[in-house]
């Protein structure tokens, strides 16, 4: 094993440990603000793992979209609404948390089984990748050729979600506002 391989292993162990630890931290922190911060660390370590797999574009897009846009919104809302005393786990584990852990465990087992069944003994072979692998151009080509249907379906799902967000966001507070207005004494 030469120095380069040792470095790769060290980075991999560091990133994988950070990924696991921050993933646990997301669900274990009592304060939602800290959970959101742990989620950023989680996404960043995942990006490092993508870089180790020569997937530069995915790593950058991951940080840009999830850390850059999505988690900022989480932080925004929790900083405004959730006080520091918020404790979703207060009062011990509930039935919901029990089933959540059960479901997460089931998914983890499923992922391992599926990978083991489909990959077989190919996992030990080093992958052959070209220079273009993971580059923006190559990923763009895959998006509009092999994975066009999934790509378009995702965009429609996102559009529906965005429209839903706008509708929920504009109608729900209106009733609250109307109630609030009634309390104001007339001049």
């Amino acid at each position: 094993m030469d120095a380069g391989e040792i470095l790769v292993w060290l980075v991999w162990i560091g990133a994988a440990t950070a990924l696991f630890a921050s993933g646990l931290a997301v669900v274990l922190f009592q304060n939602p603000f800290y959970s959101a911060l742990s989620l950023i660390v989680n996404l960043a370590s995942l990006a490092v793992l993508f870089l180790l797999l020569s997937a530069e574009f995915v790593a950058a897009a991951q940080v840009l979209v999830y850390a850059g846009a999505v988690v900022v919104m989480f932080l925004f809302v929790t900083a405004y609404l959730g006080g520091r005393a918020d404790a979703p786990w207060a009062g011990g584990p509930t039935l919901q948390s029990f089933f959540a852990v059960l479901a997460a465990g089931a998914i983890a087992v499923e992922v391992v089984v599926v990978i083991a069944l489909t990959a077989g003994d190919r996992l030990t072979d080093p992958a052959e990748i070209s220079d273009a692998f993971g580059s923006p151009a190559e990923i763009g080509r895959l998006f509009i050729s092999d994975h066009l249907l999934a790509f378009e379906a995702t965009s429609i799902v996102l559009l529906v979600a965005a429209v839903g967000g706008v509708i929920l966001g504009t109608t729900a507070p209106r009733t609250v506002r109307a109630e609030g207005r009634a309390e104001v004494p007339e001049r």
């Binding site: 530069e56 950058a60 940080v63 932080l75």
Partner: protein
């Protein structure tokens, strides 16, 4: 330079380390003297002298400022979340400085038998990397404001967050036109494409204007300096910061402006290319011109209202930037 040629001329890793050290310090030095330049320029525009007491022409002012900040007592509010409060300015400074790693300063040289590339690293996702770093930099402001345990800080950081997230979208769409025309996210290839064709500011004038406006908003400079509107928020997210921690926040904002101007030069004004003079000189000249416009804007325009800022960002800038990107895509496909 084609990627294949660049690959043949791979430089040893220690040259990259030296370059990283030199460029990080150059950026810090430039930042220090830009503060003097800005104060002098603003002074002249306000018909006064600006700093002129420390050293000849006030040239030692940044050193005096630095010493003052370093020697200040580093206290923080009783209710502050200590670790996050300390980490936030460090994160801000880190993301600001590291963005310079992918900016090309020249075509690459051969020094003492070694090939030295014109940038620290040349990655295929350079532009995305800068956008991602600036996105991570937002957390410094949000976390710093939240961890300070102060209403002014929290409101300031919420404003910063809303403003940066709103203008980030337009910023990304504005540079998309350049990416489509150059056919690459690699900054070196974008510079090369402009040497073959024309400076992208000519065909992408609308894109450049969107880029510039969004960039002024992204760097919290006047007239978009709402996050630190003194009259409303005392000082925004860094209200509770003092000493060198405050200095690091200020520094990161300044360096962000520097990065943004360097990106503007690279994407729209042909990067380092120019006749007669050496490449880095051309780069610095163009950089200086863009930064001057920033300072000029600050001395000229009053601050926007919050609703004006949001309305402009979402209802004017975003549609224009989107149309520009679509129009570029259609035109590039046809011709």
């Amino acid at each position: 330079m084609t990627p294949a040629l660049a690959q043949a001329l791979v430089e040893p890793w220690w040259i990259s380390v030296i370059k990283a050290f030199v460029i990080a310090n150059l950026v810090l030095g430039t930042f220090a003297y830009l503060t003097v330049v800005e104060r002098k320029l603003l002074g002249r525009m306000h018909l006064r002298y600006g700093p002129n007491r420390v050293g000849p022409f006030g040239l030692l002012q940044p050193i005096a400022d630095l010493m003052k900040l370093l020697r200040k007592a580093s206290f923080f509010p009783k209710g502050a979340v200590t670790m996050l409060y300390i980490l936030a300015p460090i994160l801000a400074a880190f993301t600001a400085i590291s963005a310079f790693a992918v900016i090309p300063f020249g075509p690459g040289w051969e020094i003492g038998g070694y090939y030295v590339a014109g940038q620290i690293v040349d990655v295929s996702i350079a532009l995305l990397l800068i956008l991602a770093l600036s996105a991570v930099g937002i957390y410094a402001f949000v976390v710093g404001g939240w961890a300070s345990d102060s209403k002014y800080s929290l409101l300031g950081s919420m404003r910063t967050c809303a403003q940066l997230v709103s203008y980030e979208v337009s910023f990304g769409l504005a540079v998309l036109g350049v990416v489509i025309m150059a056919g690459s996210l690699r900054l070196t290839e974008i510079v090369a494409a402009q040497q073959e064709q024309i400076w992208f500011v000519v065909p992408q004038l609308v894109g450049f204007l969107c880029f510039f406006v969004a960039g002024v908003a992204e760097t919290n400079r006047a007239p978009f300096d709402l996050p630190e509107a003194e009259q409303e928020l005392v000082a925004g997210y860094h209200t509770e910061y003092g000493g060198i921690r405050w200095g690091m926040f200020q520094m990161s904002e300044y360096i962000n402006m520097l990065t943004f101007s360097a990106l503007g030069v690279t994407l729209f004004f042909g990067g380092w290319s120019g006749p007669i003079l050496p490449a880095p000189i051309w780069f610095l000249l163009k950089l200086g011109a863009l930064i001057f416009v920033f300072m000029w804007l600050r001395a000229t325009l009053p601050r926007l209202r919050y609703d004006q800022l949001m309305k402009f960002g979402w209802k004017v800038l975003l549609p224009v930037a989107t149309l520009n990107a679509i129009a570029t895509a259609v035109l590039v496909t046809i011709f």
